[in-house]
Amino acid sequence: MSEGSDEFKGYRGRALRHLRQWGVRVWSDVRVRNDAGSVFEGVILPRSESFDDLHIVIKLKNGYNVGVHVDRVVDVEELGYKKATYKIPEQEFPRRRDLPAVTLLGTGGTIASRLDYRTGAVIPAFTPGELYGAVPELADICNLKTEKLFGVFSENMAREQYLILARKIGEEIAAGVDGIVIGHGTDTMGHTAAVLSFMVQDSPVPIVLVGSQRSSDRPSSDAALNLIHAVRAAAYGDIAEVQICMFGPTSDRYGLLHRGTRCRKMHSSYRSAFRTIGAIPLALVDMKRFHYLTNDYLRRDRSRQVRIDAVYDDRVTIIYYYPGMAPDVVDAMVDRGYRGIVIAGTGLGHVNKPLYPALKRAVARGVHVVMTVQTLWGYAQMYVYDTGRDLLDLGVVPLDNMLPETALMKLCWVLGHTDDHDEVLQLMRKPINHEITEREPHNGYLILQGGLPETEQYIASHWK
């Protein structure tokens, strides 16, 4: 039996030696007495491997956990053994002829789950039967089919996953579903939504990415409501684009449908973290209705032929410019064989002069260098200042108001087709789905500044 085996999950060193000596293991129901005569009765829990090797964790009968120092233990008695079973019971998902068909594709993360009360472990619910147990409302919305494509945290999504996901979407559409929901971790949901916007074009049905900001094991989680909103958008919504569906406000009120190329996670933990940048969201969705905020979207149309264009070259990087950046940062990328560089420049799209020779060398080596803005809102307008004009002369190409991450994903996708400089630049500058817009509406940039009387008045009269 080796360290870290299931029987002693997480225990090592002294704690492990003591457990063996006492003849007990993880899930043993024990009565432990220490040198002060205190008695702890409960189940030995697994321990995180990052914690020390001096304590054993016991879940007491009253539900609390305590860590007992192994050196203080004078007596251990095993009363029984209660292994946790990490399985969620299935209930058959009811099917109704009159309901639309929706496929939920899983990439990882948990939109619904059940909790192991002893360890706090979250056991994802994913099959229709499991989901029905966790969010029974789904059965009134659609006939649900699920498929788990991979189980990765969203930061581990990359080329391989994007290609599989795009092809799978094509298959599902060919099979005639009414809408597709993609369960996704929230960290890189914006990246995936952007790349799918390029890989899946002219979809006849909605493709909706959804996740949660509070894990689904919490009573206050946004997961169930997000899932309901997303499934409704897939089943009944009219927008046949790649979109993100997440909370509008932090209150349990409605979700927003954001265009895949223009959406960004703007807070590390807020429920309402996802915002459309430089435009307005496509629609509001709640339990009862859709409220479309614009006419400018691709309508649901079963007769339209989807184009799946799943290519991706990941030799592309993003450079977040900062004052004093040295040119060797650029040189290093070029020397390592990167084919594309997205710069997130300051202001209207600027970098310092010392970088010029490095950028000139990069362009001369056939590396495609494009400019976006780290302000996120607004356009790269490089003809305004000398710096911008100089960069244009060096062959750095502005991408107007394309978001830096969207530009990264698009350049990867474009390089999957061609490495011809002119072709690459032409494809980059030609919008496929609003990644560049000609106009920025004045309500496309709204960051309410707290503390101002008019903002406070607004906040006080609206549920956040």
Binding site: S38, V39, L45, H55, N62, V66, R218, P219, Y270
Partner: protein, 654 residues
Amino acid sequence: MLQPTLDYEQVGLVAGLEVHQQLLTERKMFCHCPAGLYTREHDGVVLRHMRPTLSELGEYDGTALMEFKTRKNIIYLLHESNVCTYEMDDTPPFLVNQQALDVAIEQCLMLGCDIVDEVHIARKQYLDGSIPTGFQRTAIVGVNGHLPFRGRQLGITQVSVEEDSCREVADRGHLVVWRTDRLGMPLIETVTEPELRTPEEVAEAIMLIGLVCRSTGHVRTGLGASRQDINVSVRGGRRVEIKGVPQAGWAPALVHGEAWRQVNLLGLRDELVRRGFRGPDDLTVDRVDVTELLAASRVDYLRREGWQKLIEAEGRRPGLELGEGPFRVWALRLPGLAGTLDWPTQPGYVFASELAGRVRVVSGLDLPPVLLYRGNWPSGAAGELELLNKRLAGGDGDDWVVVWGPEQDLHTAAGEVRLRYLDALEGVPSETRQAFADGHTDFERILPGPDRMYPDTDSPPTCMTRERVEALRRALPPPPWERQRRYAEAGLATKTIEYLIRRGGAALVDRVVERCGADLRQAGIFFGERLRGLARRGVDVTAIAADRWEQLFELLVEQPLLWEVWAELVRIMVEERTSSPADLAAAREWGRPPPNWPELLERLLARKPDHRLDESGRWRFYMGLAMDELRGRVAGAEVAALLQERPEVRGEVR
């Protein structure tokens, strides 16, 4: 209310306490918001709902499900000065407040608890919305303690730390409104073993544990800073938690009332068993729609338009306070249950009120009288009663209740009535009951079980090092019983001792005795009586910090003469906060007799008192004149001795 008597020993009364005490920390428990900053206004509002999570067995916890059934809309009122995004569950917790853990350790040491080696934060689910996450973060800090109580040892099960919940602003129908300022404040919870045997013992134990908390010197005082839950059961009954008892004085009536209630509920169980009710299959509740039958009722709220008018007047909004579905009136027929609605429960209450409590909380049908039955039928509506009796005609053994409101809520209400009768078959249901000042309680929720506790995966455990515990032990103030004994021996009055320990003056008394060599009795009277009097006359004695009191006592020990000007000195200390008491006294020449003071006395003796005064009157007259000039500079006794010998006082010269 007339309290029926009960032999507590005979019925096997057992009670235990959970004493919650807010801690005097600068910040909240899991974020950096200021603690103890309350507001009456709000500048933001958030709407949420709670959804139960699947339990171990893939089922919903009973309590959680009950709370989900209530379909509560939950509104939080926020103010930027006292909540951040943590309280609103939009930011994960920061590391646990170490200052709070220190106070918890102090409490543990005072109670002789065994400090847990490694503290693990757990989540305790609450779906009533009182905490926006849906759970309270809590952790055991110590176990296995005891305190001296009525000549025996009262066991302390555990001391834990936890975050405080929201304050309820309103709970109407399906909408509950919470103010968030108190949310997240650090609390300690001290849990006793169920070893209290009478209502009086419960009250006394509350007082004693309160004294222990206060003896740490690190807890908050004032309204709402400490709250008690009392667990009560009788032999054959079950643990019922009486929640939120604000003061010890409420305890005797509440404990007595609950014991009485449990004895009666056990009697009801026996009666039901006698009638042949054994399990769920024997219990039916028939739902009979009587909306049309009562369409012309003289009772307004039983008619659609009358009810409509009432909810409009009450400001009940669809989708918020109001449940879903059309207005209906249902009679719930209870076959074989005749007489049970009038079965006594708590003093002055009957079983129908148990049904009403559940219906009110769970279904959201909270407009009084919640439900009607023969026993509370409105006077002047005998006709309706007759109609119903005819319509519901069944066997003599039947009874019925009437509920009204939105149809969805009636479904919930009917279900709850049946569930409450099912519980009655078992005797006493485990539940949490809300306490009222008059000694009665009402249903709040099913008592949460251990299944609602699970580890908080957001927080790492804290190792309690020996160094930390020992450092706190060295600085630990004495426990109240030790002080009580010592102060009583020094001759202080019981009331003064109590005040000193509860209000924190005891720490100052011990400090000046220990560090300045002050007399314990004198210091006790000073902090426990004299300063109180001065404070009542408007002197802000709280403005003086501990080290300045120490300076004052150093001075008083050195120059006891200054006791004669203590009040003036304290007054000046409040006003001039930068100078030391010694400098303040010196500036007034206190403690230094004027070199020519007997001559000054001569000058004063030239003045003539009222001729009607007798000898003692004359003495007081001259004494007053002299001390106005000499107070704090020459001892009164010395002046008095001189004056007593003088012919002007004795009346020998005229």
